[in-house]
Amino acid sequence: MFGFVKNKWIYFLVGALLAVMVLIPFDWFMGKYNTLLIFIGLNTMVTVGLCLLMGYTGQVSLGQAAYYGIGAYISAILSKTYGVNPWLAMLIAAIVTGAFAYGIGYLIFRLKGNYLAMATLGLGLIIWILFRQLSEITGGPDGMGGIPYLSIGGFGFYTTFKRYYLVWFFCLALLLISQNIVRSRTGRALRAIHGSEDAAESIGINVAQFKVKIFALSAVFASIAGSLFVHHLRFVSPQPFGFLASVKLVVMAVIGGLASIWGAIFGAATTNILSDELLLGFGELDTIVYGLILMLVMIFMPQGLFVKLKEIIVQWRSKTTQKV
């Protein structure tokens, strides 16, 4: 996590952070921000999948919100319309979304660069159009409500307080899984593909297959977030899954650093605070800011704002230790 602190301080730091995270949702602390924090958690899950795909493997997706949406709709429809247990619905959603992305990926990952970007954008739009048009099952543009909450035995996640823990449990789990993958044989293969596809292929890495697999995994992450999203809001409509939503996810990944797992939290937090707190009620003013962020970050610090800040801290630390 904090690669620059290679001593026991890390345990203290992680422990303190976890303690803060546990205390956050209490009313006397930051309880009024629980809804915001839940959305940050959900967006982090989708963003970290996107980071694995874009930052580590070097493959663009401009339609990631669609897979978030597929997870959300499958969970909503199964649990509400068909009365399936929400947990089971969530599992089915993840499997179906993953399988769907695998199939799609098998077709479109023959494309590269600009063509791949446009294909993912186009597919995202088609899925969004389907959410709107298949109104008999999705409720159309108006959406559908009355989706049940999640519960374990008799314990229901009925309050934002409880759902905060639920969402962040999943979020931290996915972040840990992502970190483990990045630091493994698989992670090296993904980064190799980003570095040079020809060289990766020459040392026995099945480039096409890894791309498809990581795309499917990122879709599964998005789907899990989507399921949690509908069981939190108890309502789903096409609006949060369109083109702008996909671009917003790219913004989160870019701010956090495309090739940074923990940066995803930073990216999701910055973006959500900007959209839902600072610029709330200013229409789409946030898109102007996002446009600027995308341009400025990619031009001047393509490794991402979070990673840049981290580097500055490392430099500062090494300077101060030299003085001592």
Partner: protein
């Protein structure tokens, strides 16, 4: 579908396709000179339409000066995009350039929404709205303006590229930046020119289309996507094939909607174009891979 209906859909398809053709021309000229796919290309079209509406309907400026101003303004935006965003990031990877131009795109879109609102707008028709009848099919004068403009723009662009010094320099730059530099052609000037030309063509398209099909702050993405499909048919190489591609996409879309059965209805009009995109890309993917190796 009767013959009359078929003709009607065909004309409507050619009209729509002409707009896609203009977007495709913009993609093609920028890609040829800079190897950048400008994901903000659709926003030029949006700006052309929205600005001409603003000038004509809100400021009451006559048609011709309004059009000139709208195109001029968009051209300046095109130049600024190149100078501020593309040139400063000249060593960026393909992924970075995609993200940068997407950033440009939503920036322009957000700005337009802030200042010009969210409503769809319709500037007045250039020359009234008395439909003509051709072989039993109705055609509106504005559609003729759209088709005519596309033909004229294509011819002018062709003459520009083949008959003028500047055009030859652009073509040379498109073939090899280094070779062009050796004979004294500044690739940055060429790239700037390409962005300006793309902005001009896009905004002209936006201005002539708006009276017929309306426009709003968010039409850029879909137009960009359809223009991209059209240009990808010719691999972003040939302006003429891009134009033909645009008209083909327009006609396919229009005829598919004309079937009016199952998924072939106007609700899925955009989806049909996207499916066409995917099919074209996948068919071409084998060749694309080879071309990339050759580069």
């Amino acid at each position: 579908m009767s013959v009359d209906q078929f003709l009607q859909y065909l004309i409507s398809g050619i009209t729509q396709g002409s707009i896609y053709a203009l977007v495709a021309l913009g993609f093609t000229i920028i890609y040829a000179v800079t190897r950048v796919i400008n994901f903000a290309q659709g926003e030029f079209v949006m700006l052309g339409g929205m600005l001409s509406f603003l000038l004509i309907s809100s400021f009451g400026i006559p048609l011709i000066p309004s059009l000139i101003l709208a195109v001029l303004f968009t051209a300046i935006i095109g130049a600024i995009i190149y100078l501020l965003a593309i040139r400063t990031a000249k060593k960026a990877s393909v992924v970075s350039l995609i993200i940068i131009t997407i950033g440009v795109s939503i920036f322009i879109r957000g700005f337009t929404r802030e200042f010009l609102g969210v409503d769809s707008v319709r500037p007045p028709f250039f020359t009234g709205d008395e439909s003509l009848t051709i072989f039993g099919a109705l055609i509106r004068p504005q559609a003729l303006w759209i088709i005519g403009t596309t033909i004229v723009v294509t011819i002018i662009l062709h003459l520009f590229l083949s008959r003028t010094m500047m055009g030859n320099a652009l073509k040379a730059s498109a073939i090899s930046t280094r070779a062009a530099a050796m004979v004294g052609i500044d690739s940055r000037v060429m790239a700037l020119t390409a962005f300006v030309i793309a902005a001009v063509i896009g905004s002209i398209g936006g201005a002539v289309m708006a009276p017929l099909v309306l426009t709003s702050y968010n039409v850029g993405v879909m137009l960009g996507l359809k223009g991209f499909v059209s240009a990808s048919i010719g691999g972003f190489k040939s302006p003429i094939i891009s134009v033909i591609g645009g008209i083909t996409i327009g006609v396919i879309e229009s005829l598919a909607v004309g079937i009016n059965w199952g998924p072939f209805t106007s609700s899925y009009k955009d989806a049909i174009a996207i499916v066409a995109l995917l099919i074209i890309l996948l068919i071409r993917s084998g060749r694309l891979a080879l071309e990339e190796r050759a580069d």
